[in-house]
Amino acid sequence: MSSKDQILKSVRNQLVPSADLPSLDQDWIQYDDAVAHFGDVLQAVGGTAIAVEGIDGLTEELAKIPAYTAAKKTVSCIDGLVGTVDLDRVEDPHELEDIDYAVLPGEFAVAENAAVWVTDTKLRHRVIAFIPQHICLVIHCPDGNVEKAVVHNMAEAYQRLTWSRNEFGCFISGPSKTADIEQSLVIGAHGARSLHVFFVI
């Protein structure tokens, strides 16, 4: 008998009382100002949230970020903003090792934990979300309305997601960090050393 059959048989042979699934339709937390709460939590986990008007506003704000202006190699996956390296022309993701700054699309934000949903739909190499020294996530707000880009809690977040494609998706909340050395929080473990979230209205 294969190990699969053995494991399944072993699992099926146990006397386990049946148990019902709970309803996920409950009164989950709502914030008076979800956008402001998102900003506060993001700040607490080491990131910054900024609302900008259009691509021009985005360019303007990026120019204020020293890590961006000092960057030699940049990647942009946002229409209207050009980076120095074209992600689609990179064959081997290892070539992205020395990217200094990446501007990437985020789909929406979650107020309760400052997470932004990022997928590889428009990213040829998903490592671009993790390997640059610094990143920013750009969220286009429907109808120019920031509220529509921010859900209150994770239950609402999952209601927005679909799983038909073999898509890689990640909730990113702040820059990479660690507290493994005597509980001292250090920003910039392996991934991005800084994270800006831009809401484009």
């Binding site: 494991i7 072993s10 699934l21 409950q26 309760e112 934990n113 993790f130 809690n153 073999n166």
Partner: protein, 464 residues
């Protein structure tokens, strides 16, 4: 401090307690995290609802685990992953090695997986000439020191920055005497970047696997899992069969609980959802039983399969905080480890259910409501019934039982006890025969027994 060899918890804890200052420091470090967890749990009015839901989802999954495992395999396969089944640690290691050898892998990067630790994968792969690099910073630190992790979420919680600095100086040629965590983390970042870029394959654990979609989620703060598996073509994900949940929407419950319970964060920095391999790559998922299915049958212990490995029970446990993770001599230490390990290997881990004050704090903080302290109490009975208890524990209990059944004898012995406590020289009271007095003072003998005081009180009342 090297790895402790003995399985005997009291002996190991004694060793840890030799350095009193360090014991206090360890205790307060963990309590600090416990307090962060408390603040986070109070930031959500629905905290208790979340715990109840999580517990119910896990109970349901275990009740239909075989169906969900099959559903998961079907959906994961449809997304291009290859699913393997391993009944024990040995088979798990063999499967992983076969995949790596097929790709002529020389170097791999691994992100924290307690399951691979449980299966002793690293020494097995190293024996076969493969370089294994743990990429979680804490895990890398203990790996360089040739130690096991002492905590499942914070593997190097037992080490001070001086220890880390010395380790890095020796292995990564960092500046001697530079104890700055920023400097040390930066050095590790540079060192591990090389390893990420050189790796031929990446191995990760799995926090949650979803039957409905055939995908799985890995949570890290450092992003090491993501870097490790999005550069090379081969990703191997190793998971215990209890990691399954039925639907993707259920993640909303578990992701809200996990980081808050573990480190007091609102969520981990990265919560990655993997569905199928990267373009042109391979994704292998190894489903491991290794004794888990045996736990399902027992009404007493089934609940321990709900564990999501957040470590909250360790951070709050007064015994863990004062005895250190290594004293448990097991991959999973603390309260949950004191249940899982003896159930797998009763002979070696028989002292663990006794490494507990039955205070119940672990059960109170558990995000999936595992009745940890009750299970520990049940396990003690089992250890006793298996006649595994040393005579130093059974004989005094037998004597106590004999005395308690005889009120007059009890009263008389009480008087004798008080007399001895008052009059005997110290060395006759505090010696090897009295383990209680080893680290604390015996209570002062009261001037009169309770029995006598009570009798006088009753007499006074009737006299009135």
């Amino acid at each position: 401090m090297s790895a402790i060899k003995s399985y005997d918890h009291p002996t190991n804890a004694d060793q840890f307690n030799k350095d009193q200052a360090r014991t206090h420091w360890h205790d307060s470090s963990l309590w600090f995290i416990r307090e962060k967890r408390d603040r986070m749990s109070k930031s959500l009015p629905e905290w208790e609802t979340l715990r109840t839901c999580a517990s119910q989802i896990k109970a349901h999954t275990v009740s239909k685990l075989a169906d969900y495992l099959e559903e998961f395999e079907k959906n994961a396969t449809a997304r291009g992953a290859t699913v393997h089944w391993a009944k024990d640690a040995e088979e798990h290691n063999r499967i992983v090695l076969e995949i790596l050898q097929k790709h002529q892998t020389k170097r791999i990067v691994k992100s924290k997986s307690m399951l691979t630790e449980e299966c002793h994968l690293n020494p097995w792969l190293e024996k076969h000439g493969i370089e294994v690099v743990d990429t979680d910073l804490g895990e890398r630190i203990v790996q360089l020191r040739n130690e096991p992790p002492s905590h499942i979420v914070m593997p190097a919680i037992h080490l001070k920055k001086e220890d880390v600095s010395n380790t890095f100086h020796e292995h990564l040629q960092t500046e001697q005497g530079n104890y700055d965590p920023n400097y040390l983390t930066e050095s590790a970042r540079q060192h591990l970047r090389q390893k990420f870029c050189q790796a031929d394959a990446g191995i990760t654990g799995v926090n949650f696997a979803i039957a409905e979609t055939g995908g799985f989620v890995v949570c890290t703060n450092e992003g090491n899992a993501d870097l490790g598996v999005s550069l090379p073509k081969v990703h191997i994900a190793c998971m215990g069969i209890e990691k399954l949940i039925p639907k993707v929407d259920h993640l909303s419950i578990f992701l809200r609980l996990l980081a808050r319970s573990a480190t007091g964060q609102p969520i981990t920095t990265y919560s990655s959802h993997f569905h199928g391999p990267i373009e042109g790559g391979e994704l292998h998922i190894v489903l491991v039983d290794n004794g888990r299915s045996k736990l399902m049958n027992s009404d007493d212990y089934r609940n321990s399969l709900k564990c999501i490995r957040c470590g909250a029970c360790m951070n709050t446990c007064p015994v863990y905080r004062r005895s250190g993770g290594h004293s448990y001599a097991a991959t999973v230490p603390g309260p949950i480890g004191s249940i899982l390990n003896p159930l797998r290997d009763a002979k070696h881990h028989k002292t663990l259910p006794f490494a507990c004050t039955l205070c119940g704090s672990c059960s109170d903080v558990c995000p999936v409501k595992i009745n940890l302290h009750e299970q520990l109490l049940t396990l003690r009975t089992e250890v006793k019934n298996q006649k595994q208890l040393p005579i130093s524990k059974t004989l005094p209990m037998q004597i106590a039982s004999f005395v308690f059944q005889r009120p007059k004898l009890f009263a008389w012995l009480g008087g004798v006890g008080k007399f001895f406590l008052r009059t005997m020289p110290r060395f006759l009271i505090y010696n090897a025969m009295n383990p209680w007095g080893r680290n604390r003072e015996m209570p002062e003998a009261p001037p009169e027994s309770f029995r006598k005081q009570y009798a006088q009180r009753v007499k006074k009342k009737s006299d009135k």
